[in-house]
Subunit: 337 residues, 2 copies
């Protein structure tokens, strides 16, 4: 990074921390009113699920998307909270589905409180998020939001279909991540723009930005599953392989691999994936065939496209917010957790 | 039943079948458009979950609630479908939570397609139901609906809290069933009335009616868990005991029991509940102490209150719908599955 982009990242971190603090405050007061008279165990599970760190990237995107369209009042933090609710709801359900033992360096909700509590707490957050989006953005916003949640489920199904199949192509991979990760981030940006009073061109621009940011984010996430360290990511490295998730480094390596290596890759994914030997073998193959490098290039390209989507907002007045949105996209490439 | 109430029940069954057929048609066409381009496995799981029988009582209540407030157009069937979606979503998630092997005489969704598919399909239906309610009734309807879904989750948590504790009182029992069953049925009726153009008095009347119907329904359901036959209910008799769910027959028997019997009851619920001996012992005790009789009386009283809530609608013009809503409440007392 050069000096200017370092400054941008510093500024981003300061704003992100400020937004995160305000959103957490709003979440706490929203929970207090929404959970009045509710079972204390429900309250405990929700608080555990919601306040265990988390970068609050979706709330930040909601706030900036509204801001770049001209709206900067307090209500936007409640809208922002709705996206975090939905995000956490999907994490909680995903962790139940994956039998995950931890998340962000702590026990996963399902592991700590049991599957029943986890499924129900996810349902509660799901309902609350829709409630807020419907209330704050009407049926137009709710439409975008519900299409996104439907797409997320569809993406999970597509992913289930591909488990253990190292023969899928990039198209199938991008179809999964567009639904699984891109759709919520894109809807966050589009609804933020709608809430901010942006016209359809601006809503579409933020939708595009969100799609690219979401895809880049997932590509890097999938890359970190191989290259990250457990200490930094809070996740076990090599987890995707164990679960049979075929991600871009694998697909890219397959494309460059010779016949024998392709067979090896297919067999590695369809065989026993729990041994250390298999993972080491796979890792070497991906490295040799440029799988990691290709994934990094794709992420860079997506980030560039994300930033280009912001063109329509280029003006002196928007300089600060524009710079922050660009910095979020660029941050994806330097994050290590 | 006398001849007049037999006629009313016949008429109810005819109308219920007609509404069920129309709602199923609407659900099929709604799914077709909402699931365009989606993973075929998701489609299969949803169709299996939605079209496996089911009495479609919630859709019927939605249609009649709108009708008694003066609206009888086609859109009401889509609104009605939304309530069935949410109902089925909760059944699917509940069956995962309870590790249920079957539902309505067929394999439960989670058993047939796996936990991951079941959780995700439930999430999809949840989102779709909110989407439709928001679109058709605006944020006013969505408000009622989301409060109900929040209450349902809260009811499940309350129920989890009480598992195996035969010392709970009627208040705690009614607090659980009001949330778990009453809230969705009450919101179905209230939102139906709102959609139908009913004023707040009429919305409140239908809300009250729904609360009472929902409570009566659950009391009878809990009674059938002891008295029903597997052939008729499609459920294993004595299931609640095995799961440690303390329902009205137990609570009522506790109130009439002597010290020694109370201790027996507490021990039966906190001990090993899987043996036939324990169930037989419990059954005899509940019968002897009038637990079943008391639950039946409570159900009758709730049904009476439900019918009384309809007073505000009494008019020559509404006679048919009024009679059907009353017949639904009365049907609860004669159903055996």
């Amino acid at each position: 990074m050069n000096a200017s982009s370092e400054n941008k990242q510093d500024r981003l971190h300061a704003v992100a921390a400020e937004v995160a603090a305000r959103v957490e405050e709003v979440m706490r007061s929203d929970l207090e009113s929404a959970l009045q008279g509710c079972d204390p165990f429900l309250v405990e599970v929700l608080e555990y699920g919601l306040f265990g760190g988390g970068k609050r990237i979706r709330p930040l995107l909601a706030v900036l998307s509204a801001s770049i369209c001209g709206r900067r009042d307090d209500d936007v933090y409640l809208l922002a909270a709705a996206f975090e609710y939905l995000h956490v709801a999907t994490l909680i359900h995903d962790d139940v589905i994956d039998h995950a033992s931890d998340r962000r360096g702590r026990e996963a909700v399902g592991r700590k409180y049991g599957m029943a509590a986890a499924i129900l707490a996810g349902d509660w957050l799901h309902a609350r998020s829709m409630h807020l989006v419907g209330r704050l953005t009407g049926s137009e916003g709710l439409d975008i939001f519900c299409r996104a949640t439907g797409a997320m489920v569809d993406g999970e199904f597509l992913q289930l279909r591909h488990v253990g199949d190292a023969g899928i192509g990039e198209d199938e991979y991008f179809a999964v991540i567009a639904r699984k990760t891109g759709s919520l981030i894109a809807s966050t940006c589009a609804i933020g723009a709608l809430f901010g009073g942006g016209d359809s061109e601006r809503q579409q621009a933020m939708q595009n930005y969100g799609e690219k940011v979401g895809a880049a984010f997932q590509v890097v996430d999938d890359l970190l599953d191989y290259l990250g360290s457990r200490q930094q990511t809070g996740k076990k490295v090599g987890n995707d392989f164990i679960e049979g998730k075929v991600t871009l480094p694998v697909i890219a390596a397959m494309e460059q691999a010779g016949d024998e290596e392709r067979l090896e890759l297919l067999e590695l994914f369809s065989g026993d994936r729990t041994g250390d030997g298999a993972y080491g073998h796979l890792y070497g193959l991906l490295e040799r065939r440029g799988g990691f490098q290709r994934a990094q290039q794709v992420a860079e390209h997506l980030v560039q496209e994300a930033v280009e989507s912001l063109q329509v907002f280029a003006s002196a007045e928007n300089e600060e917010t524009y710079g922050l949105l660009a910095a979020i996209a660029e941050y994806i490439l330097v994050r290590n957790k």
